[in-house]
Subunit: 288 residues, 4 copies
């Protein structure tokens, strides 16, 4: 029986054109790689092609550099951008939080138990509160307070941490500050935020209070990539929770916590498994 932990992932996207699948799968065959799972999709509106391939080399001398160099030549003909991910790859990550710790606690638990294939390089917060939790997990904690006056400075500091740790993904796990458009731009496609509403409903601050005012019977959470338009970044996944007339705004806050945790964790997992493709303002998500 094939081992799951020997699986490489190749993802790619390019303009729609005859032969987009063939250029990938023929190459894998030539490299003697067995495809264990593959999904492709053609966005007929955007005329763009997306593919995700999980494979296992049949030869022991498989070399990633050689593979990539050789495939790059073929991909170029299709204007194809691609990424190769090694088995057991662990993506370096920075998590940003404020005071609420439910999403952080959930992510740290999954990290500690090996459910999230990441290396958490740092946790950044504009408050000192969550330092003990992070310390217990033996992770560095950067307390970077922020005021309207120091925003630019603080964000420069944040960026310094992200860069110096080599983080390839930033997780905004209920970081309650609006990022400047400069920072948003730098983080485009590299940062996942959890918003505590079913976007585009209840954008902005205090969505549970807005939901209470409207008397909705469902609340939800939205995990999305950061882009330059606040709370309008491309959506990765959404979750939902029934509520009732008996729920005060504080009850909604409490009820929403679980679905926020689950929705964020699901989005991060999909991203780490290279199941999410970003193009223009939309995502393609090859669900399991």
């Amino acid at each position: 029986m094939r081992r799951k932990d020997a699986t490489w992932i190749l993802t790619a996207q390019c303009p729609s054109r005859l032969g987009t699948v063939d250029v990938v799968t023929r190459f894998l065959k030539e490299c003697r790689c067995y495809i264990t799972e593959q999904q492709s999709f053609d966005d007929r509106h955007g005329e763009r092609f997306f593919i995700r391939t999980a494979f296992q080399p049949e030869e022991t001398d498989f070399d990633a550099d050689t593979f990539q160099a050789a495939f790059a030549a073929r991909a170029a003909e299709f204007d194809m951008v691609f990424e190769l991910t090694a088995p057991e790859a662990r993506m370096p990550v920075v998590i940003m939080v404020s005071k609420a710790d439910h999403c952080l606690n959930d992510l740290l638990y999954r990290y500690r138990t090996g459910q999230l294939p990441v290396t958490i390089r740092a946790v950044i917060s504009n408050h000192p509160d969550l330092e003990p939790l992070v310390a217990w997990h033996d992770l560095p904690y950067y307390h970077l307070p922020i005021t309207p006056e120091t925003k630019a400075e603080q964000e420069a500091e944040v960026w310094r941490v992200i860069e110096s740790t080599g983080a390839e993904l930033v997780i905004l796990a209920r970081y309650m500050q609006v990022l400047s458009s400069e920072l948003c731009e730098k983080l485009t496609g590299k940062a996942i935020n959890i918003h505590h509403s079913l976007l585009p409903g209840f954008k902005g601050a205090k969505p549970y209070h807005q939901a209470f005012e409207k008397g909705v019977k469902l609340v939800g959470a939205t995990a999305h990539y950061i882009n330059d338009d606040l709370d309008e970044g491309p959506i990765i996944t959404q979750g939902v929770e029934p509520v009732s007339h008996a729920d005060d705004p504080e009850d909604l806050v409490a009820k929403g916590r679980d679905i926020e945790c689950l929705t964020l964790a699901r989005a991060v997992s999909l991203h780490l498994e290279r199941r999410v493709f970003l193009h223009a303002r939309r995502t393609v998500v090859f669900a399991r």
Copy 2:
């Protein structure tokens, strides 16, 4: 074992005050009525009290008129409005549709099989298309076409049908015309609409196209009472359906049909079972 089909329902609401439950339950005890199910709720924000009581008289000579007259005196002390519903009561109903027939078909099926305790007095449409379906169920069909010029006239006709049939509930089962504020006012609390989005997201026309543009991963439906503010009436219930990048607007329309049917049917059932209370812009829903 007690029979379910001998159950009366008493619902009431009034300002919050000591003794609101007691005034109801003591009276029922005195009338020798056994309470089989009861729910009450105090809205501490609005300082208003809501109660729903299902009961079975232990005496065979229970008389509704006597009961109501006697209870009215006590209720008056609490500024309590109440309603008594007999076992097996069938509410007279008018359904309004346009061309889409999924909600109508669903309601007619539930009606035909006895799942909905109503008497459908008429189906009104601004199009002729659904006449055969309605005819097969032996129900009167009013084709009342509408143009911007004839809107006032058509609505007068609609109102005439509602009044002449004695309808106590109007179900807008994908009636695709915006009602005038005059008609909305007349129908306040007496008409249930199904909107094909998770309100307050995607108000107005073509919500599935809006949803596609935003790249959401969930679509939904909202059943709400009509009031004077379009798509802002008090919400009764909401349903949700996962969607993906592969869904075109037409796919969303198709995927949404089932959840629209289910959400509308659930709202109508809750209303018929007297589980929904309307107060200001909100509902209290005592779910089963």
Copy 3:
């Protein structure tokens, strides 16, 4: 923009072996067919490979027979069985029912409105009750009553209808008779049944009564292929519905109807879209 209604589907399965994807996709490239959606899966336990490819020919002279003949030669090398489905193909279907009509009504509605790409050739029932509903849809109704003594005879009659109508799929939409193992064998992989429980829980008769006895808080429905072991056929999809202490067995029956309809309709759609693969006692389902 590519048209969706010009899409062919090629499905295939074979033993796991290097090149299984390539043999399909290279051939499609050579035939100048653009792949719009593809999913493949390797069952590492059963060492078996499954693929579903949706494609659009770029040439106007695409010929299905030529395609199949040519591909058969290549597929043979891999012991690959495959099926090619034309755009807008309508599968001939027979539906079997008893007295309960909710699933039938739902299927007929979807059929009438073009949501199900089938041609319903006949409805068979062991009772006369549902004849008027079927007649309204202008479909032939075979009333084939059954008693323990006439079972063999009746099943021969059933089989005659299936064969003479050329049905490629039989939908057991709450047909309340246990099929003989002979008939089951003939229908293996060609018949979908809806069972009103979350199999393997509550097999056999009166599952809602069993559920009530156990005091479960969820009921459900299971759509599965028929095989020789009653209620043990390979599962296609399952649905679930919350229930409470207040639900009598009859309430569970009523609450279960919607989820039975939805689960059966989903399974039939997945089957018609060639998203379900049957191998041994399991299914592979490439969900949308």
Copy 4:
């Protein structure tokens, strides 16, 4: 506006008889207690009545002992058993675990953040592994290893911890030992277990492996009270999670973790809020 944190809860059950609600609500009125939320239910099969009342005394000199003594006299006439719960009451609890820590971690998080109104008096495990996690929360950890030979002894030790800590609830948060019928009996109605399947499906060991074998498309979790029949105790709540052909048994284990945590936490919350009534082999659950 009334404060939520001043709310007392009175729960009761007794045989069905005229006046069961009145005996409760009239007394509350006489004591000048305002009822903020009330639910009652008559089990017509078992002919038993259940009621839960949340109330706020209008007088500052409300005294629980006086209240209970006075009410006991009235309740006695109805063979009514009742319980009065003070605002902000914190139930003493013992948690039992083995090696898997997801449910424990989840419970400890909710405890630490004040979401669970309990006092955790001890964590008992038959393994040493989870000691550091418990220590970080400053809670006592009892490592009580067990072998077939020492089972009786170990259980005596377990019981000693439960008794000495005054625990009123034992939470079996994936404790992987079968309790003896003696211990089960002692814990009847006082212990909540999480089983990782949709009971009564997949009882016993390795339910996810059983689920994989059957090829189910949904897995789930069941929180139930312990009684003398293993995995057959009265169900409090159940949760469900979709799975696919691509999920190995280990994937099912991983996917099931979240729903196990949520289902157990929900059951514990319902129990703490006195929303669950136990009678014979069934529960009545007054959901929010």
